[in-house]
Amino acid sequence: MFCPQCGASNADTAAICTQCGRQLQAVVPPAGSPTPLPVQGVVLPPGTTVPNYLVFAILATVFCCLPAGIPAIVFAAQVNGKVQIGDIAGAQAASNNAKMWCWISFGVGLAAIGVWVLLVMIGVVSGIHNNR
Protein backbone atom coordinates (compact mmCIF):
# COMPACT_ATOMS: atom_id res chain seq x y z
CA MET A 1 0.00 0.00 0.00
CA PHE A 2 1.07 3.62 -0.42
CA CYS A 3 1.37 5.82 2.60
CA PRO A 4 -1.36 8.50 2.50
CA GLN A 5 1.01 10.93 4.16
CA CYS A 6 4.25 10.71 2.24
CA GLY A 7 3.31 8.43 -0.65
CA ALA A 8 6.02 5.85 0.07
CA SER A 9 5.38 2.26 -0.96
CA ASN A 10 4.88 -0.13 1.98
CA ALA A 11 3.87 -3.77 2.46
CA ASP A 12 0.08 -4.25 2.58
CA THR A 13 0.26 -5.54 6.13
CA ALA A 14 2.69 -2.94 7.38
CA ALA A 15 1.61 -1.27 10.61
CA ILE A 16 3.50 1.96 10.07
CA CYS A 17 5.11 3.65 7.12
CA THR A 18 8.79 2.84 6.84
CA GLN A 19 9.39 6.29 5.45
CA CYS A 20 7.52 8.70 7.75
CA GLY A 21 6.21 6.48 10.53
CA ARG A 22 2.50 7.21 9.92
CA GLN A 23 0.11 4.53 11.20
CA LEU A 24 -1.22 2.56 8.24
CA GLN A 25 -3.62 0.03 9.72
CA ALA A 26 -7.24 0.83 10.60
CA VAL A 27 -7.75 2.60 13.90
CA VAL A 28 -10.15 1.24 16.59
CA PRO A 29 -13.54 3.08 16.39
CA PRO A 30 -13.84 5.84 18.98
CA ALA A 31 -15.72 5.11 22.17
CA GLY A 32 -19.44 5.88 22.03
CA SER A 33 -20.21 4.35 18.68
CA PRO A 34 -23.30 2.14 18.84
CA THR A 35 -22.08 -1.42 18.92
CA PRO A 36 -24.67 -4.02 19.87
CA LEU A 37 -23.93 -5.58 23.23
CA PRO A 38 -23.62 -9.39 23.14
CA VAL A 39 -26.54 -9.85 25.49
CA GLN A 40 -28.82 -12.41 23.85
CA GLY A 41 -29.31 -15.32 26.18
CA VAL A 42 -26.34 -14.41 28.34
CA VAL A 43 -25.92 -14.29 32.09
CA LEU A 44 -24.55 -10.82 32.69
CA PRO A 45 -22.16 -9.71 35.38
CA PRO A 46 -24.18 -7.42 37.59
CA GLY A 47 -24.17 -3.75 36.75
CA THR A 48 -23.29 -3.95 33.06
CA THR A 49 -26.60 -3.04 31.49
CA VAL A 50 -29.22 -0.30 31.51
CA PRO A 51 -31.67 -0.78 34.43
CA ASN A 52 -35.15 -1.73 33.28
CA TYR A 53 -36.93 -1.47 36.67
CA LEU A 54 -38.87 -4.63 35.80
CA VAL A 55 -39.07 -5.83 39.40
CA PHE A 56 -40.55 -2.53 40.52
CA ALA A 57 -42.85 -2.46 37.52
CA ILE A 58 -44.23 -5.88 38.46
CA LEU A 59 -44.69 -4.84 42.07
CA ALA A 60 -46.32 -1.61 40.96
CA THR A 61 -48.76 -3.45 38.71
CA VAL A 62 -49.71 -6.10 41.23
CA PHE A 63 -49.71 -4.13 44.48
CA CYS A 64 -50.15 -0.47 43.68
CA CYS A 65 -51.89 0.64 40.56
CA LEU A 66 -52.45 -1.52 37.51
CA PRO A 67 -53.12 1.29 34.99
CA ALA A 68 -49.76 2.87 35.82
CA GLY A 69 -47.92 -0.39 36.26
CA ILE A 70 -48.62 -1.60 32.73
CA PRO A 71 -46.79 1.32 31.05
CA ALA A 72 -43.92 0.64 33.43
CA ILE A 73 -43.71 -2.95 32.21
CA VAL A 74 -44.01 -1.80 28.59
CA PHE A 75 -41.10 0.59 29.03
CA ALA A 76 -39.11 -2.05 30.89
CA ALA A 77 -39.51 -4.29 27.85
CA GLN A 78 -38.48 -1.38 25.64
CA VAL A 79 -35.27 -0.92 27.64
CA ASN A 80 -34.14 -4.47 26.97
CA GLY A 81 -35.33 -4.33 23.39
CA LYS A 82 -33.23 -1.25 22.69
CA VAL A 83 -30.21 -2.75 24.43
CA GLN A 84 -30.58 -5.80 22.20
CA ILE A 85 -30.24 -3.68 19.06
CA GLY A 86 -27.51 -1.49 20.50
CA ASP A 87 -29.56 1.69 20.96
CA ILE A 88 -28.18 2.56 24.38
CA ALA A 89 -29.46 6.13 24.32
CA GLY A 90 -32.96 4.90 23.51
CA ALA A 91 -32.64 2.29 26.23
CA GLN A 92 -31.72 4.97 28.74
CA ALA A 93 -34.73 7.06 27.72
CA ALA A 94 -37.02 4.03 28.08
CA SER A 95 -35.40 3.33 31.44
CA ASN A 96 -36.29 6.83 32.63
CA ASN A 97 -39.87 6.34 31.48
CA ALA A 98 -40.11 2.97 33.24
CA LYS A 99 -38.83 4.55 36.43
CA MET A 100 -41.33 7.41 36.13
CA TRP A 101 -44.30 5.09 35.74
CA CYS A 102 -43.13 3.03 38.70
CA TRP A 103 -43.17 6.17 40.81
CA ILE A 104 -46.59 7.19 39.45
CA SER A 105 -48.00 3.80 40.32
CA PHE A 106 -46.46 3.92 43.77
CA GLY A 107 -47.83 7.41 44.31
CA VAL A 108 -51.34 6.41 43.28
CA GLY A 109 -51.21 3.37 45.55
CA LEU A 110 -49.99 5.49 48.44
CA ALA A 111 -52.71 8.08 47.81
CA ALA A 112 -55.34 5.34 47.76
CA ILE A 113 -54.12 4.08 51.14
CA GLY A 114 -54.17 7.64 52.43
CA VAL A 115 -57.74 8.15 51.28
CA TRP A 116 -58.77 4.85 52.87
CA VAL A 117 -57.16 5.78 56.19
CA LEU A 118 -58.94 9.12 56.05
CA LEU A 119 -62.29 7.50 55.32
CA VAL A 120 -61.77 5.06 58.18
CA MET A 121 -60.95 7.87 60.55
CA ILE A 122 -64.04 9.86 59.70
CA GLY A 123 -66.15 6.77 59.96
CA VAL A 124 -67.31 6.43 56.36
CA VAL A 125 -65.59 3.10 55.92
CA SER A 126 -65.55 0.36 58.52
CA GLY A 127 -61.96 -0.19 59.44
CA ILE A 128 -60.09 -2.12 62.08
CA HIS A 129 -62.72 -1.90 64.75
CA ASN A 130 -65.69 -3.20 62.81
CA ASN A 131 -63.98 -5.93 60.82
CA ARG A 132 -64.39 -8.87 63.19
Binding site: V43, I58, I73, N130
Partner: protein, 146 residues
Protein backbone atom coordinates in the same frame (compact mmCIF):
# COMPACT_ATOMS: atom_id res chain seq x y z
CA UNK B 1 -25.47 4.00 37.45
CA UNK B 2 -28.85 5.64 37.17
CA UNK B 3 -30.23 6.56 40.58
CA UNK B 4 -33.07 8.63 41.94
CA UNK B 5 -31.26 9.37 45.19
CA UNK B 6 -30.26 12.94 45.91
CA UNK B 7 -26.78 13.54 47.30
CA UNK B 8 -28.24 14.37 50.70
CA UNK B 9 -29.84 10.95 51.16
CA UNK B 10 -27.27 8.24 51.75
CA UNK B 11 -28.03 5.04 49.91
CA UNK B 12 -27.26 2.93 52.91
CA UNK B 13 -29.81 4.85 54.99
CA UNK B 14 -32.50 4.45 52.37
CA UNK B 15 -31.90 0.74 51.99
CA UNK B 16 -31.92 0.37 55.78
CA UNK B 17 -35.21 2.26 56.09
CA UNK B 18 -36.83 0.27 53.30
CA UNK B 19 -35.55 -2.98 54.75
CA UNK B 20 -37.00 -2.12 58.14
CA UNK B 21 -40.31 -1.10 56.59
CA UNK B 22 -40.43 -4.34 54.62
CA UNK B 23 -39.51 -6.29 57.73
CA UNK B 24 -42.28 -4.58 59.67
CA UNK B 25 -44.69 -5.41 56.88
CA UNK B 26 -43.64 -9.04 56.88
CA UNK B 27 -44.09 -9.30 60.65
CA UNK B 28 -47.51 -7.69 60.36
CA UNK B 29 -48.41 -10.06 57.56
CA UNK B 30 -47.29 -13.03 59.59
CA UNK B 31 -49.37 -12.00 62.58
CA UNK B 32 -52.54 -10.84 60.86
CA UNK B 33 -54.48 -12.49 58.07
CA UNK B 34 -55.57 -9.91 55.48
CA UNK B 35 -58.63 -12.06 54.88
CA UNK B 36 -60.04 -11.50 58.34
CA UNK B 37 -58.19 -8.54 59.80
CA UNK B 38 -58.84 -4.90 59.00
CA UNK B 39 -55.22 -3.95 59.57
CA UNK B 40 -54.51 -3.97 55.86
CA UNK B 41 -56.21 -1.52 53.48
CA UNK B 42 -58.41 -3.19 50.88
CA UNK B 43 -57.82 -2.86 47.20
CA UNK B 44 -59.74 0.23 45.96
CA UNK B 45 -60.62 -1.44 42.67
CA UNK B 46 -62.17 -4.44 44.34
CA UNK B 47 -63.83 -2.33 46.99
CA UNK B 48 -65.51 -0.11 44.40
CA UNK B 49 -66.22 -2.55 41.58
CA UNK B 50 -66.01 -6.02 43.07
CA UNK B 51 -63.61 -7.05 40.30
CA UNK B 52 -60.45 -9.08 40.87
CA UNK B 53 -57.32 -7.31 39.69
CA UNK B 54 -54.22 -9.43 38.93
CA UNK B 55 -52.95 -8.73 42.42
CA UNK B 56 -56.14 -9.67 44.21
CA UNK B 57 -55.42 -12.18 46.89
CA UNK B 58 -51.67 -11.72 46.68
CA UNK B 59 -51.42 -10.23 50.16
CA UNK B 60 -53.47 -13.10 51.61
CA UNK B 61 -51.31 -15.48 49.61
CA UNK B 62 -48.17 -14.02 51.18
CA UNK B 63 -49.74 -14.50 54.61
CA UNK B 64 -50.37 -18.16 53.81
CA UNK B 65 -46.81 -18.55 52.56
CA UNK B 66 -45.48 -17.07 55.78
CA UNK B 67 -47.33 -19.88 57.54
CA UNK B 68 -46.05 -22.49 55.13
CA UNK B 69 -49.37 -23.09 53.39
CA UNK B 70 -48.31 -23.31 49.75
CA UNK B 71 -51.61 -24.79 48.57
CA UNK B 72 -53.74 -22.06 50.10
CA UNK B 73 -51.39 -19.42 48.76
CA UNK B 74 -51.59 -20.93 45.29
CA UNK B 75 -55.38 -20.91 45.49
CA UNK B 76 -55.47 -17.23 46.39
CA UNK B 77 -53.16 -15.89 43.69
CA UNK B 78 -51.09 -18.38 41.68
CA UNK B 79 -49.35 -15.68 39.67
CA UNK B 80 -48.04 -13.91 42.75
CA UNK B 81 -46.73 -17.18 44.12
CA UNK B 82 -44.91 -17.86 40.86
CA UNK B 83 -43.46 -14.36 40.59
CA UNK B 84 -42.42 -14.12 44.24
CA UNK B 85 -38.96 -15.77 43.94
CA UNK B 86 -38.02 -13.53 41.03
CA UNK B 87 -39.26 -10.41 42.79
CA UNK B 88 -37.35 -11.29 45.97
CA UNK B 89 -34.18 -11.97 43.95
CA UNK B 90 -34.63 -8.72 42.02
CA UNK B 91 -35.19 -6.64 45.15
CA UNK B 92 -32.16 -8.21 46.82
CA UNK B 93 -30.13 -7.36 43.75
CA UNK B 94 -31.37 -3.76 43.85
CA UNK B 95 -30.53 -3.43 47.54
CA UNK B 96 -27.03 -4.80 46.98
CA UNK B 97 -26.62 -2.46 44.03
CA UNK B 98 -27.31 0.54 46.27
CA UNK B 99 -25.20 -0.79 49.13
CA UNK B 100 -22.10 -2.06 47.39
CA UNK B 101 -22.53 -0.72 43.85
CA UNK B 102 -22.94 -4.19 42.40
CA UNK B 103 -26.12 -6.25 42.26
CA UNK B 104 -26.64 -9.96 41.74
CA UNK B 105 -25.92 -11.65 38.38
CA UNK B 106 -29.03 -11.89 36.28
CA UNK B 107 -30.18 -13.40 33.05
CA UNK B 108 -30.82 -10.80 30.35
CA UNK B 109 -34.52 -11.01 29.50
CA UNK B 110 -35.30 -10.44 25.83
CA UNK B 111 -37.85 -7.67 25.35
CA UNK B 112 -40.41 -10.09 23.94
CA UNK B 113 -40.37 -12.09 27.18
CA UNK B 114 -41.10 -8.99 29.24
CA UNK B 115 -43.94 -8.00 26.94
CA UNK B 116 -45.30 -11.55 27.20
CA UNK B 117 -45.21 -11.23 30.98
CA UNK B 118 -47.16 -7.98 30.79
CA UNK B 119 -49.75 -9.60 28.55
CA UNK B 120 -49.96 -12.59 30.90
CA UNK B 121 -50.58 -10.33 33.88
CA UNK B 122 -53.34 -8.43 32.09
CA UNK B 123 -54.94 -11.63 30.77
CA UNK B 124 -54.83 -13.12 34.25
CA UNK B 125 -56.63 -10.03 35.53
CA UNK B 126 -59.33 -10.36 32.90
CA UNK B 127 -59.82 -14.11 32.87
CA UNK B 128 -60.10 -14.58 36.62
CA UNK B 129 -63.17 -12.35 36.62
CA UNK B 130 -65.09 -14.57 34.23
CA UNK B 131 -67.58 -16.46 36.38
CA UNK B 132 -67.50 -19.41 34.02
CA UNK B 133 -65.75 -22.68 34.77
CA UNK B 134 -62.81 -23.25 34.47
CA UNK B 135 -61.86 -19.56 34.57
CA UNK B 136 -63.43 -19.06 37.95
CA UNK B 137 -60.73 -21.30 39.36
CA UNK B 138 -58.38 -18.34 39.05
CA UNK B 139 -60.44 -16.19 41.40
CA UNK B 140 -58.93 -15.79 44.87
CA UNK B 141 -59.47 -18.76 47.08
CA UNK B 142 -61.34 -20.89 44.60
CA UNK B 143 -58.59 -23.11 43.19
CA UNK B 144 -58.37 -25.30 46.24
CA UNK B 145 -56.95 -28.75 45.54
CA UNK B 146 -59.00 -31.70 46.67
Amino acid sequence: METFLTPSIRRRDLVAVLFLAAGFGVVLLRLFDPATSGVFPPCPLHYLTGLYCPGCGSLRAMHQLLHGNLREAWALNPMSVMLLPFVVYGLTSEALLQLRGCGLPHFFLPAVWIRALGVAIVLFGIVRNIPVHPFDLLAPGVLLPL
